[in-house]
Amino acid sequence: MALSTHTTSTGFLLPSIHSAPPFFTQQPNPATEAIVIEQWTKLILSYARHRNLFYLRVEDAETGGDWDEVLRNDRINRRLPPTHLSSILAGMVAKNVATYEPAKQTRSVLLYWRLPEEWAEVLHQWASTTGQMNTIMTFYEITDPPVNSPLTNIPLPLLRKAITILAKSNRAQIIAIADGEGVRFFTPAK
């Protein structure tokens, strides 16, 4: 039987496997389930990149939210059960494309549709193109700039990780300021 792709209302192209009801069931056969988890991981990260979403929780499978377009398929009357989603999250964390955030629980993850190293590069790039080098910036200015940047609404833990990576290569430095934290970017010494 032919399965087709589908474009959602936000302009995201769902793969044809998403129209297959077995995709939503947790498969007992381990080899089959490995393939299923892999496809779901790809789908979730792709959607997160498309919509600029960072967090995914197990509860998102049950209640409505940003993820409904992916976690449910009303055309075939199927949804992803929370147990299956939980095991998919575990798989993603094991592959290091997500991490449990806040730590020590298994219900909510922070997605790395862009790895922290990549975020670090993007951050440094943005700082230099907007002419904010060598000035102290607050975190708020980075996450909520007047002009939309790829870093808009980035969660603070991820931002901190990226800055830490830059600090290791001497391209940024964390400063403690009056309320909150600040960061200063440097150009790397040639």
């Binding site: 793969p15 498969q27 949804r79």
Partner: protein
């Protein structure tokens, strides 16, 4: 000397309370008493204290308590007399004694801890002799429990029951029923009062009086009694008064007859009534015997049934032979074909007599012969319509066809590996994960079935297990009309899933509308995931 005969010496230095039995009670005491043995004063017992208890009369001597003190069981007292005393003679209480002492001796039941056979209670030795005869917890007389082995520790209850249940009362009393003097009802000889009207029955010559010449005497053989066997008596003389109180206590004690009630219970327990512990013992024994007889009868019936089964097999063979003979020239009429086919379907007809072990010498050859026979049975009846059949069905059908000399499961399991050589198409064994073992023809092997299943699902879309069971087999060309049994189908589909041939869609869990729960409805799809190529949103970098 009636005193010597009826009393037991005790150590008077021990306080009186310590000498009592556990169920004995002290009713009264009086000092300054003397004892008369018969009509004369007893020289050694002239100044002491008398104690009346519910079971005995104690005398503790004043000057020599350790050597001159004694006790008398009140059960030996037949009547009492009271003499108020004149000017110089002191008040006296006379006790007339009767009964034989040695038959009451407690030597047979040694005063030690004994274990009751019925309830397992350990009875302490502190009880009075009559109380010591029955168990403190359940009331079963000690003799009834271990009559056959006196004093030994634990004879099995059921083995001792026959001895006790029926031997007891017969031993103790004579066999003739006793007529009641009031209502002329014939009572059991061991009863004391009439069963209907409760009047006292005349005492039969009880064993006490029958054994009136004791073999062994517990007391020293002193001066034998000169005459007067009917008038053995003891007098207690009260030098300082207190006679009224003691006499009252004595009367109370005698009326209470605590030992009497126990003894009566002991004897009455031997009666043929179905109440109390002995009744329960009797019913248990009866039911055991009943069970044995019924089992024996049932086994005899089973033997008869086996003979009949053999007859049926012979009849079937005869019928088949006659049909063959009758229709050898023409085509077989419809009924004959029908009869023959039903016989084979029932598994009743086999061409040869069943192979038994004594027919062939070598066990290996015997297995091969059995395999050959089983192959014939399978092809004739059991597997003709179905390509796959469970092992228990095969075993049952084969044994039914044999009729006699049935095959035990162990032999059966040894024979089935030999089947593929003797069957066409080859019948092989397959064992599922759940433990179900089946015999199947090649179309039903794992690989063949999964290939068929995948093809079926591709053609018809997703199906539930039930639908597969019903519909799939219909598609096969030239095969059976009936489908597979659903549970068997489920086993095979799950096996296929384990191999990776199909994947499941749990409608109950995943449906947005109308889901029921995990595993409620499962639909099967061909495995879509193997070799799937991603065709969703391509990854772009910002």
């Amino acid at each position: 000397m009636s005193l010597k005969r009826f009393s037991q010496s005790i150590d008077g230095t021990i306080p009186i309370q310590a000498l009592l039995y556990d169920d004995e009670e002290l009713l009264g005491s009086q000092d300054n008493v003397g004892i008369y043995d018969g009509q004369q004063k007893s020289p050694r017992h002239q100044s002491g204290t008398a104690y009346i208890t519910s079971h005995r009369l104690f005398y503790v001597d004043g000057p020599k308590p350790d050597s001159c003190s004694f006790s008398i069981d009140l059960s030996h007292v037949s009547r009492t007399d009271y003499y108020a005393g004149l000017f110089t003679s002191s008040p006296k209480v006379t006790l007339y004694l009767a009964g034989d002492v040695s038959s009451e001796s407690n030597d047979e039941h040694a005063p030690s801890i004994w274990e009751c056979q019925v309830c397992g209670n350990h009875n302490s030795p502190g009880f009075s002799p009559s109380a010591a005869r029955i168990c403190g917890l359940c009331g079963v007389p000690r003799d009834a429990a271990d009559d056959s082995t006196e004093g030994s520790s634990a004879p099995h209850l059921s083995s001792s029951l026959p001895a006790s249940g029926f031997a007891g009362p017969v031993q103790r009393s004579s066999k003739d029923p006793v007529p009641c003097p009031a209502c002329t009802f014939l009572n059991h000889p061991s009863l004391r009062t009439c069963e209907l009207c409760e009047t006292d029955l005349p005492r039969r010559p009880s064993r006490r009086e029958l054994q009136s010449a004791p073999v062994s005497r517990p007391h020293s053989p002193d001066n034998d009694e000169e005459g007067d066997p009917a008038n053995m008596l003891i007098k207690v003389s009260f030098r300082k008064g207190g006679d009224k109180a003691i006499y009252g206590a004595l009367k109370t004690s005698l009326n209470g007859k605590v030992w009497e009630s126990k003894a009566a219970t002991v004897d009455r327990g031997g009666g043929n009534r179905s109440v109390g512990i002995s009744g329960i013992l009797r019913t248990v024994e009866n039911s055991v015997q009943e069970r044995e007889t019924s089992m024996h009868d049932a086994l005899q019936d089973l033997e008869a049934l086996m003979v009949k089964a053999k007859d049926m097999v012979n009849l079937a063979a005869e019928l088949n032979y006659k049909l063959t003979a009758a229709s050898s020239t023409n085509d077989e009429p419809e009924e004959a074909t029908f009869i023959r086919s039903s016989l084979t379907q029932l598994g009743l007809h086999i061409d040869n007599a069943p192979v038994t072990q004594d027919m062939t010498k070598d066990e290996r050859r015997w297995h091969e012969e059995l395999a050959r026979e089983l192959a014939k049975v399978l092809q004739a009846g059991l597997m003709r319509d179905k390509g796959i059949v469970a092992l228990d069905e095969v075993w049952g059908g084969w044994n039914r066809a044999r009729g006699v000399a049935l095959i035990p499961p162990a032999t059966f399991l040894q024979v089935i590996p030999l089947l593929p050589q003797y069957t066409t198409p080859q019948v092989s064994t397959r064992k599922f994960v759940s433990g179900l073992t089946v015999l199947h023809t090649p179309p039903y092997s794992a690989s063949a079935f999964s290939a068929r299943l995948a093809g079926f699902l591709v053609m018809h879309g997703s199906r539930t297990t039930l639908e597969i069971a019903l519909e799939m087999e219909l598609d096969m060309e030239g095969s059976n009309e009936a489908g597979m049994s659903v549970s068997l189908c489920k086993e095979m589909v799950e096996d296929c899933e384990r191999e990776g041939g199909v994947c499941r869609d749990d409608v109950g869990q995943c449906a947005i509308v109308g889901g029921g729960g995990v595993g409620v409805e499962v639909r099967w799809w061909p495995n879509l995931f193997v070799g799937y190529v991603w065709d969703g949103q391509s990854e772009e970098d910002d």
